[in-house]
């Protein structure tokens, strides 16, 4: 049962991830991204990491992709302009692909998962408390820094969008 579900969700995830990249129509691509996120959430549920699964759905599937679609519709990007790969894009893409391959290769050759760690994963993933504990102790600094970055980004967006609203009041 579990392996069938795993195959189902992982196939969905991979196929949709390919769909995001390949699709010419931006709305289709966003739809694929949404399904891809749902697939990843399904995989998290299989790992008993309910919190991660639902936060992924709540934040990314529920809000971020909705905003993507919102922007796509607002700008009416219908995929008319085909993306020609310029030299630098091709180079960056190839570099990323090489990095990915190296990473995968390293995991396949050298990496191994600790069995006891894997056993503990379920217990840690199912409950909120370990997450909160880790976030407020071990990872406090990264969390604060990321929060600060997001705040800066938000302020930047406000400043940038205010410029256009000098003659007409916003909304």
């Amino acid at each position: 049962m579990a392996s069938i579900l795993f195959l189902l969700f992982s196939t969905l995830t991979v196929l949709c991830a390919v769909g995001v990249v390949v699709n010419k129509n931006a709305v289709n691509a966003a739809g694929c991204l949404l399904l891809c996120l749902v697939g990843v959430a399904g995989l998290f549920v299989q790992l008993d990491a309910y919190l991660l699964a639902f936060i992924l759905l709540l934040v990314y599937a529920g809000a971020v992709v909705a905003l993507f679609l919102f922007i796509i519709m607002l700008l009416d990007v219908q995929g008319r302009q085909s993306f020609g790969f310029s030299g630098i894009t091709t180079f960056a893409g190839l570099m990323a692909f090489a990095l990915l391959l190296t990473g995968l290769g390293t995991i396949a050759v050298k990496g191994h998962l600790d069995a006891p760690r894997l056993n503990r994963l379920a217990a840690e993933g199912a409950n909120l408390k370990p997450y909160a504990q880790q976030l407020f102790t071990t990872y406090l600094l990264p969390v604060q820094i990321i929060g600060f970055l997001l705040l800066i980004a938000m302020l930047g967006v406000i400043v940038l969008s205010k410029k256009h609203a000098t003659e007409e009041p916003a909304k």
Partner: protein, 386 residues
């Protein structure tokens, strides 16, 4: 007595349970559309729908006329109409997404029910066990996460319709739903801060919330609606916005957007949007009642266990788990229906907000209010539970 049931394989059993819940939600959602018209008529002092009747029911002397006046046959007439009407597909739409949108509307609306407990029974030790399809530890998060996917039905419907008003409606929908999700999520946090007292196992599920509202004593028996009125109010307002109910139904405001995202829809596809809206309302009301209205407890300071104890003095049959289950589910459903009546009452009381007012209320009033509310309760709870 029910041993045969537990011999069925788990998958089939879960399937049957899910089907049973859907078979309750779906007709209630249909009946709500009727109730909406009846309540509207009642508030506006007119009889409302009272004509449709099945002939052989009309022959029953007193009951027949009563049922006809009640208008319950209009539900069936409407359902029949929606099923058999021509299912038109306009030429200018994106067909795939146009057909997909109503289905996408139904899926989150019915999926959220999975994590919402809707009743309870007493086990042999006299402990209250919630009844629900999947009592997850992350209950409220799951409800928020899955119900936030409902916005895609409106976005897709509006976009695929390929015409002006549906498109405007879908843009409004995505902006409005994202805006009010924030205040909604922040408003329930004090509840979960309170129920996750120090030394207890952490949970975001609904079982613990109701358990905390059914304790003995003045503070223990108090429903969270009284303990945290501001939280309840913010959640209530955000719930209206999230379900696109008046006064927040700028998304499908008939007077300036025709019908908004479902302008181009007809027949059963339109019906699915309708049922999805009511399913959202039912689940939303259920969550409100669990968080702030005491769940399946009959009255404030009167927990379910007490009521069962009193009834057991009259007849010993009352402490049977089956009876307690039915009783608690009836109490809970009654509360949910009362809440839905409130939805309809507000609809005919408050005028619709303008779109800019909706945004202003969401970002400039509700969000700061909910943050202040969270801070206040976080500090207060830290002092009380120290």
């Amino acid at each position: 007595m029910f041993d045969f049931y537990f011999e069925i394989p788990l998958v089939i059993r879960l399937f049957l349970q899910g089907l049973a819940v859907i078979m309750v939600i779906f007709p209630i959602a249909g009946a709500c559309s009727m109730a909406e018209r009846k309540v509207a008529a009642w508030i506006q002092d007119r009889p409302g729908p009272n004509r449709a009747v099945v002939p052989w029911v009309a022959w029953i002397p007193f009951l027949g006329t009563f049922l006809q006046r009640l208008g319950i046959f209009h539900v069936m007439a409407d359902g029949g109409k929606m099923l058999f009407k021509e299912d038109s597909l306009p030429g200018h739409v994106n067909k795939f997404y146009f057909v997909l949108a109503p289905i996408v509307a139904m899926i989150p609306a019915l999926t959220t029910v999975v994590v919402v407990p809707f009743g309870a029974y007493l086990d042999a030790a006299g402990k209250i066990i919630p009844v629900g399809l999947a009592p997850l530890d992350v209950g409220i998060l799951a409800v928020f996460a899955v119900s936030s996917l409902g916005v895609y039905s409106m976005i897709l419907a509006g976009w695929a319709s390929n015409s002006k008003y549906p498109f405007l409606g879908s843009v409004r929908a995505s902006a409005q739903l994202i805006s009010y999700e924030l205040s909604m999520a922040l408003s329930v946090l004090p509840v979960f801060l309170w129920v996750n007292a120090p030394g207890m196992e952490a949970t975001m599920g609904f079982g613990r919330v109701v358990e905390f509202q059914s304790q003995p004593g003045f503070l223990g028996g108090m429903w969270f609606g009284f303990l945290m009125p501001l939280s309840a109010f913010i959640f209530f307002v955000a719930l209206f916005a999230e379900t696109n109910r008046q006064p927040f139904d700028t998304v499908e405001s008939e007077s300036d957007l025709v019908g908004s995202f479902h302008t181009e829809y007809g027949a059963f596809k339109w019906g699915l949007f309708f049922v999805a809206e009511y399913s959202h309302m039912i689940v939303g009301s259920g969550v409100f009642m669990l968080l702030f209205g005491g769940g399946w407890n009959p009255l404030p300071w009167v927990p379910l266990a007490d009521l069962v104890g009193w009834l057991a003095q009259i007849t010993p049959l009352a402490s049977h788990p089956l009876f307690v289950g039915v009783l608690s589910i009836s109490i809970f459903l009654g509360k949910v229906l009362a809440m839905i009546f409130l939805f309809m009452w507000v609809r005919w009381t408050l005028p619709r907000f303008r779109y800019d007012q909706v945004m202003k209320i969401g970002w400039q009033r509700l969000l700061p209010l909910s943050i202040a509310n969270l801070l206040f309760y976080a500090i207060a709870i830290a002092f009380i539970q120290k």
